[in-house]
Subunit: 139 residues, 2 copies
DNA sequence: GTTTATGCAAATTCTTTGCAATACT
DNA sequence: AGTATTGCAAAGAATTTGCATAAAC
């Protein structure tokens, strides 16, 4: 576990460093894709669900992670790409496979932002494409 | 209530017509925006939650309605625009106001569809922009 | 010593299912 | 008669909160 990296990042965000916060952040940073609260609970056996929940709440408020709702009924979390802020430009496309029920982060594809009618102002974008992933299409 | 219009539409989709299905479809067609199961439950006092749920399930399977997950924790439903099918091209942009917690259908703005990497095939798109709506921005 | 974080348990909310009763064909 | 639909009740799943304990400043 890269304790140092996590500690630094928490520090820079002005989030007080605690063992649990390091564990949660580390798990998220190591994750290949997104993680749900349940995923984190499974991975961090020793840590209580509510602690993880509140940790994620803090992380999100400080724009260290963002949440993605892929329509599966459980919200997914992901560490923000850019260190400084989690802007709209930072949001990328997600793909949900209806066969294997996995959510893929297509980090190279940023979420499109359409022009909104007069008066609407955007703060974040949730862009999920659902369909069949390559490995499910094969087999 | 425009009984006739609902009956016709159900017929054309090959969905057996029942009083409840007419009620649910009518409520959805009259709605200015999207409706959650809870919204429908409130509006159709006499009808049980589970009946509405199963009705929506059937409607969705027959592409008469589609569901939108706006990340609020309750799935919203909406009658498909095109009579025939509810294709990707049919999906439009939704806007969720973080102040008043309302979901707006921007029917004129179709949901963008990015190019996916080799192997991924898209079946539907969920595109939600979150921010502040005109009336909340004002007051 | 006061504030903040954590764990446990339980409440809430939303969704889904089992089953008996009813209505339709 | 036999199938499909509905209501009631309750199960499930995910999220959220209250409160007491423990840790940090």
């Amino acid at each position: 576990m890269d304790n140092r990296k996590c500690t630094d990042r928490l520090d820079r965000k002005g989030i007080r460093v605690t063992p649990i916060r390091i564990l949660v952040l580390d798990a998220l940073m190591k994750a290949s894709g997104t993680m749900s609260l349940a995923d984190l609970e499974t991975e961090l056996e020793t840590v209580d669900k509510s602690s993880i929940f509140r940790t994620l709440e803090i992380f999100e408020k400080h724009h260290l992670v963002h949440s993605i709702d892929d329509g599966t009924g459980s919200v997914k979390f992901e560490v923000c790409e850019s260190e400084d802020d989690c802007s709209i430009a930072d949001m990328h496309t997600h793909f949900y496979c209806e066969i294997c029920h996995k959510t893929f982060c297509l980090k190279d594809i940023s979420a499109p932002l359409v022009d909104l009618p007069e008066g609407f102002s955007a703060r974040s974008v949730n862009y999920i494409i659902k369909g069949v992933c390559p490995s499910c299409a094969r087999g």
